[in-house]
């Protein structure tokens, strides 16, 4: 198990997009969501340490893609 903390700026990423991304990746990792004033904080705990980096990158891409499809963060 390897944990990584990701910070997504609230002005760039939509919270709903992150929720949806967490749901989509829940088979591959455990997630803990927190909120700061200006950022969504996602703690990603990969079930496979070998795939941790790739999983993190794929998760970020997926969240960004969903945000853009929704028309942006706001």
């Amino acid at each position: 198990m390897s944990a990584q903390t990701l910070r997504f700026d609230k002005q760039v990423y939509a919270g709903e997009a992150l929720d949806e991304a967490v749901k989509a990746f829940s088979n591959f990792a455990a997630f803990e969501l927190k909120q700061e004033d200006d950022a969504w904080v996602v703690e990603l705990i990969s079930k496979s340490p070998q795939m941790a980096d790739r999983l993190r990158n794929e998760f970020c891409n997926y969240a960004l893609g969903l945000t853009i499809q929704r028309g942006g963060a706001s």
Partner: protein, 166 residues
């Protein structure tokens, strides 16, 4: 540890060749977020894209190669193509902003036209008393109204006819 790629101004770009990652700092006033979204969306199938805001005036875009260990030249090409695409998106965004009123007007007219002919009820309730449009130069007047013979008013005495009778 960051490395500098050739041809890229210092301070704008940091490359981590070992990790196959390159970060670009972008002025938020030059490149709007919508343009950044546009360019990023094009690139998310080629590389991993992450957008961050180190401060309010700067966007930091991190591009990570999907290949294991890309060469410096491949990273340079990737960031160059991204920058070109970003510039194109920013310019298109600017054109859209400039022409927003025209686009909205044309779209509105197209939708209004697609709604079809007005019903009898619509026509019955239509206010025909309104002027169709302002015409200060009299362009919409007919030629006869503007330059034709003036019709005598009924109240005026017909001097010529009276003279002939006496």
């Amino acid at each position: 540890m960051g490395t500098q790629l050739s041809d890229i101004p210092q301070g704008i770009l940091q490359a981590e060749l070992g990790a196959g990652r390159v970060s670009i700092n972008l002025d938020a006033e030059v490149y709007p977020l919508q343009a950044l979204y546009g360019a990023s969306y094009i690139f998310i199938d080629r590389c991993y894209v992450f957008i961050d805001r180190p401060d309010d005036k700067v966007f930091r875009v991190t591009l990570s190669a999907k290949d294991a260990a890309p060469e410096a030249e491949a990273l340079r090409a990737l960031v160059g193509e991204f920058a070109n695409e970003l510039l194109s998106c920013a310019w298109r965004h600017q054109i859209t902003q400039d022409n927003r009123t025209i686009i909205e007007t044309v779209t509105m007219q197209a939708i209004a036209g697609a709604m079809g002919e007005p019903s009898l009820d619509d026509l019955a309730s239509f206010d025909f008393s309104d002027e169709a449009f302002d015409d200060p130069l009299g362009i919409a007047q007919s030629w006869e109204d503007k330059h034709g013979k003036k019709v005598q008013k009924q109240d005026e005495p017909e001097a010529s006819n009276e003279g002939a009778a006496s």
